[in-house]
Symmetry: D2
Subunit: 301 residues, 4 copies
């Protein structure tokens, strides 16, 4: 760690990578880390960590609305190409997609959450524009990355189907899971935490409460120089929020430290395979000005 | 090749992987191929192959419309969380995205093009529904894959900025480029062809014609057992279409053979780095029923 | 009635106004009818018959989704016009609207419902195209009309808050209401039927059943040469459908007779004022190819 | 004029109808005006004043995007109701609409334009929220009205096809047209000004300049107690703006006086018929929070 100042994490990472930085802890992943990450694969199995994008059967917040697919062109357009010399019967099916940037499986850009002090790295809290979105820290700044992913399968470790709704995950629980799994944690790792909440959702719960990280667990991210954090729940953190501080963990990780967050990841298959380390690549939609994007992260076991 | 019947390519791959197959030539990528593909990386540099998603400065077909980002929530919503106990000044920026499945950098699902005989593998040409989209071969069937990618940098090889608009790329040109680059081609590879068209677009052309693959080049895909094909142009193939057969190469590759296609890939940086082989992973949006998706493929050099 | 063939209503109005007709019973409203309709007004009070268009508190079918308003431009766009010489602080608020053609208060174009025999006047049942919508009988053909409106306030007449969910309104009930109200019915009239269902909805029901017209009531439309029909419920007709024939009244009125239908009309204020005849004008959005439109009919008491 | 304070127009109408007023000069239309307006009709002809809503052939500003109709349901959905007992072949065509509130023929809510002093009646300039839109002066406050409309057909009067692009219409020109037409102007009237620009547009111009009202013409609105103003051009006012003051007439009429504005009205048919007075009713989409709406005003000749 020659290019970082770990002491700065006490007051967050603002300025750590320069006043212009829009990438946050993804700076911790160097090309060397990427090359090393490729070596952890054992099976070559390819995992999609995204839930399907559809109207029903997936977790959707009302204010975001259900994602929609509309048909743009189809065989109902009679022989669309014959006027241009196309063969009879030839045509193309295409769609229009209308969906929230933060719907279902998605990642947060570093402009996603603002506090009275601003967004990550001190950019102004009110600079997000109706017309243009984020002038700083949009999804293009952080939407493409790859590295070593590790899975902490908390319900697997604890022998339960899922952590209880509202359960606040502590640092000690993460450490215990690491030890039990025998998973080495390395600087620049992408940490994926399975709470089991998606399984509870699929089981039909209508409980709004969710298990998730608490503020106490943030030190795990600091101490291990974690580059990004994902989970299978709605907000990485517990709901209700830890100590009833609204978005407490988002403030600590996303805003103060510039830690990229990914939510509603589908982690059950990795867990079932006992795949606790893998190569992970993420290619979000590079929407200029957007504060997030739906993602389909690809893990290689 | 014990699990394939190459003679079937004379009449395409329908039935080659069973009557129910919806994955086409992506079946050629086995876990062994994936593990081998990880070994080709040399630099650990991470490339995004997607153009930005925005209204201007990127290639957009009028009937698809420009992709749009609208603001869902922002600091213009005064203290949105205070009623729930949130701190003053705290809030979140979120977006709504409205975009065509086939806009800018995207991939085609195997249901994308239909002929009078149907879509890939003989599924009915008119089964794409306004309400539900594709019951077979939607983007979920093929949207997640990874493997060895190779770049054939035709303008780089030919010493030009771009191939001429309308130029029909032949098998011989691909072979010559392979030889000149010294690029080994392996079964299961993902073939990316740089025509230079994106550079021409950025240069300000308003010529609708584009360089691209001709039907003659399809034998390259067959002979090398290519799993997927991408290019920097609008349609993989040349416009006007080879021999004026509308969508000639789509019919040969996508419909008959089930070859996944990716269009408007940003390949200039790979070319500039002389990076002709790499690990490539693609995680399309898994939209149930969709005939395609915008993508941000991630290449590791 | 010199320009109509009432016997044709036995088999519907197909061909009644020519093989090319796309306007159906709106043909019954002549300029003379319109001039006469202007004379019925007594108070000059202007009524909006549309519910608000919003996400909550209004009846929405899940498959249509809630209508959405997004911000296109606002003061969050810092001084958007200063670069063009605009004054500091000057700008414009604008919106994007995303809504179903048949959401909340709306009217059906004559292409809305198809049977195995086609849509109104025998146009092909499958000619509605993904790309272009309706080539015949789109909302532009019928979306603008005006004339004499009459309100049959069934719950008012019957002394109840609303008709029971599932209640099938008969011809006799309409006749009794006409008599009790002392409302003259004239050829070319626009018939609005209040069932009270909207009041029940606002009362918080989650009953899917609704009161509405039955097939028996269709003779009222025929005998009085009614030009258009509206109601405060979701489908004009009862749900469950009369005699369990799916869309029975739509088939009789919209498809066979070309009677324009308007749904989820807000009729309580007219009823409360005892305003049973009025001038009514409707200006639907003239969306080329659309099978319907949200409307805000204007009644003058 | 007993209910108005004309002196207040020197500093606009803020406060004229109370500090809470959100309706502006539409307050000038009383029920008596409406009843009187009904008496001006002579022919009973019904006019739609809206251009078609479609992607091409109509004036569209790039930042608003072209309005889009997508198919929600159609016959491509195989027998959608058979599972619920519907007859084979029965189904419904429905659409999704995606369009700017201010696209093509539309009206401005009084929250549309803000200055450094706020919107009409002094509501805060930055209260328009991404999530909720306008808390004051949304389209619901002004979207429904009716009264006497008058047409000033300037090119008809001046014997030209259209006024020149950039031409600034003066008070004297309006007065001369009134005199020549012999049109009486009454308090509470809705003033429609034909500049001929739409004809120029249809003639294929690509000139961004447009003829329209200048600041000098505002006194016509004041002196005659006009309730609302519409025109066939993009912004009521001339482009470039009068005296190069950005949105000069919007500021005078919409912001200071609370005068409802309607743009891109289709006025050629009224003009061709020599119909200079008529009953006009407007029912905008009552979208909660919206700063405008597409409209299809209905005129009765």
């Amino acid at each position: 760690m020659t290019d970082t100042d770990t002491s700065s994490t006490a007051t967050g990472n603002w300025g750590r990578w320069g006043a212009d930085d829009e990438r946050g802890t993804l700076n911790l992943i160097t090309p060397e880390h990427v090359l090393a990450a490729l070596q952890v694969c054992r099976t070559g199995k390819v995992y999609s960590l995204s839930l399907p994008i559809q109207q029903h059967g997936v977790p959707i917040f009302d204010y975001r609305g259900a994602p929609r697919r509309y048909t743009l062109t189809s065989a109902s357009d009679k022989d669309p190409y014959t006027s241009m010399g196309g063969a009879p019967g030839l045509g193309a099916n295409e769609d229009m997609l209308v969906l929230a940037s933060h719907s279902i499986t998605h990642m947060d850009a570093l402009s996603h959450v603002y506090t009275e002090d601003g967004i990550y790295n001190g950019f102004a809290r009110d600079e997000f524009s109706s017309r243009d979105g984020a002038p700083h820290c949009d999804i293009r700044a952080t939407g493409t990355f790859a590295g070593r992913g590790i899975l902490l399968d908390l319900p697997g470790h604890q022998g339960v189907d899922w952590l209880e709704p509202g359960h606040v995950i502590t640092r000690a629980e993460l450490d215990a899971c690491v030890d039990a799994q025998g998973t080495e944690v390395r600087p620049g790792d992408i940490l994926l935490v399975r709470t089991g909440w998606l399984d509870l959702f699929e089981d039909g719960t209508d409980d709004f409460a969710q298990p998730g990280l608490g503020v106490d667990a943030v030190s795990f991210v600091d101490d291990h120089e974690i580059a990004a954090v994902g989970a299978d729940n709605a907000a990485i953190e517990s709901i209700p929020f830890d100590d009833n501080v609204f978005l407490a963990v988002h403030i600590e990780l996303l805003v103060k430290r510039g830690v990229t967050l990914m939510e509603h990841l589908k982690l059950a298959e990795l867990a079932a395979d006992g795949c606790h380390e893998f190569f992970l690549s993420v290619g979000a939609l590079p929407v200029t000005g957007a504060a997030g994007s739906p993602i389909n992260p690809v893990a290689i076991g």
